[in-house]
Symmetry: C2
């Protein structure tokens, strides 16, 4: 079994403003370690997959920055989308270029900006999913046992085990982000898992399902060169111009009969806002989480993030404080999700370009 | 009557960290306007005194920066003290160099980093004080009617009017910073005024009093050149090395019989901390005071100061938020005085030099 990681790294990451900017969105930030998150994502696979076998699909704008962030990935495998069309066209593209890699080839689609712990368990789960994907010609989606009735995630309803005693189950349905009441029910019934956007499959199986369920995308693939390289950009322009904007969940997973869901054994977080850093990294005796440098006097529950400078706090509680060279952000931890709205407001300012 | 302002600008201003640094203490910061405070101090005298007649006594370290900040003051009149010895040696020096300026010469000693409003009333009070100083050969100290029992200021106890109906009174005593109980009594008895460090006198009168009450300092003056200029530095080295560390209040004012106190008609604040900016400048509808650029969503009572970048706040209340390129400071307004303690802590850090 040989894993071919396909890392989706096209996000804009406005929720981590002011650290995230157009030129440096979340997946390029060192939120979890001293490395950009996309490099953490690759590092997490060490022992399971080689960076030489990895693909990264990002935006054309970010392609160079991504290549710098993960120099071990061959540069022709860092694909720059001329325009984002959600995940289905990207997954189709990867499956296309991964076809013919041999009977032991397994593709794994991975978001580039999530927290996953511990990495060892993550690799075990992927290895098990890869075996099932090959044995059953299945598309395995990893489902995360929910720890709270989150209304910000999509859910997967698991059905019966694929075999007696198996941890792998059929998929009853993919569920959109639920309302609060429904989310509580999902968590209570024990059948619903968070959809973390992690898919494991043999490339040919995915291609087949795309041909069946997304023939408009499949029809565009044969126009692509056999392998990416010089001159691929023009073909990608045509492909992305013609492809519909659609997620792989909607285009394929909700329709295919080959979907199988695995119950993940690792902890997962999509790091949706600054507040998510609370669950990450070392805390001091007062529950403060510091990334970079901070001096906090008589302060507790502070999430302090500095990209080189110093965050100094006196007598502050439960705040997010972010320092960059040209912006300071301060907000209560429980309002960190409002950063996106602030970014929308900034977009209307006349010097928005300097701030975003 | 011709005024010769002598502006004392040697302070270190740790209370406005992280904006204030060794190389840029409070008097060089644009806290009250877009100009450094020392330039505001000079501007406030417009119409009463010419910058050509002004003297500024600062530290040798800051001399160049002060000259840049107030280019209208002749450069040889910006004196750099090789070492700070409190105010008496500086005042003596100024009186020495201002002697022989004529019978209408009036020196006015001014701190460089206080808020004074309105400037028109300030000038009227100084003009009146100047007349009394010449007529009575008095050293007039301006006393500020206290608005609260502040324990951070020195007080002047006023005595009887110098003449029937006069606003000028004799000085009973200079009082050190009082305890809380005493401060309340001072405010209630109506006889005590805040000592703002503003003195008005004929240079020869001050020289005479220095000779009488501080003969050790007086003895050093004759070693100084007739006028400051090239080659003065060596003489200043000797003068400051030999001079005692002593305030003019203690060396002269508490002892002389020529002290007269005037009740000031202007509002005054020594800007002792970031919180003092609250009483200054325009507030938005939510009581936020912004210097520089800020975006404050659902926030109130915030003092936001940026030296070029942006302060962004969401849902924050009654905080001081300061952004500089390499430091962010956040603290509740009512704890802004603790910044000094934080600076003391930073002094013990191994890269203190980069932060102070």
């Amino acid at each position: 079994m040989r894993f071919h990681p396909v890392i989706l790294a096209g996000g804009r990451g406005e929720r981590f403003w002011p650290l995230s900017r157009r030129a440096r969105p979340k997946q390029l930030l060192p939120l979890l370690s001293d490395r950009p998150m996309v490099a953490d994502t690759l590092e997490r696979l060490r022992g399971l997959a080689s960076p030489k076998d990895a693909w990264i699909i990002t935006s054309r704008e970010l392609r160079t920055a991504v290549r710098v962030a993960v120099p071990s990935v061959p540069r022709e495998r860092v694909i720059g989308e001329p325009v984002g069309k959600n995940t289905a066209p990207a997954v189709a593209l990867a499956a296309w270029w991964l076809r013919g890699m041999g009977a032991d080839a397994v593709a794994v689609i991975l978001p580039s900006d999530h927290r996953v712990e511990p990495a060892s368990r993550f690799r075990e789960d992927l290895a098990a999913a890869g075996r099932v994907a090959l044995e059953r010609r299945a598309i395995v989606v990893l489902g995360i046992p929910p720890t709270r009735p989150d209304t910000g995630y999509g859910y997967i309803e698991a059905g019966d085990p694929v075999a007696a005693g198996s941890e792998f189950r059929g998929v009853v349905a993919f569920r959109e982000k639920p309302d609060a009441e429904t989310a509580v029910r999902y968590v209570e019934d024990g059948r619903h898992l968070w959809n973390a956007g992690i898919f494991v499959f043999a490339p040919e199986v995915m291609l087949e399902e795309i041909r069946t369920h997304a023939p408009d995308i499949a029809a565009l693939l044969s126009d692509l060169p056999e392998r990416p390289g010089r001159g691929t950009d023009a073909a990608l322009e045509r492909y992305y111009a013609a492809a519909p904007w659609i997620s792989i969940d909607y285009a394929v997973m909700e329709r295919t009969r080959r979907a199988v869901v695995a119950r993940a054994g690792f902890a997962w977080d999509d790091l949706g806002s600054w507040a998510a850093l609370e669950s990450q990294g070392a805390k001091d005796a007062h529950g403060n989480v510091v990334h970079g440098r901070a001096l906090l006097e008589d302060s507790s529950g502070v999430i302090a993030y500095s990209d080189g400078g110093l965050v100094a706090g006196i007598g502050v509680k439960d705040l997010v404080i972010v320092h960059t060279g040209d912006v300071t952000l301060v907000c209560p931890r429980d309002r960190a999700q409002e950063v996106r709205a602030l970014v929308e407001r900034i977009k209307k300012e006349k010097d928005a370009d300097a701030l975003l």
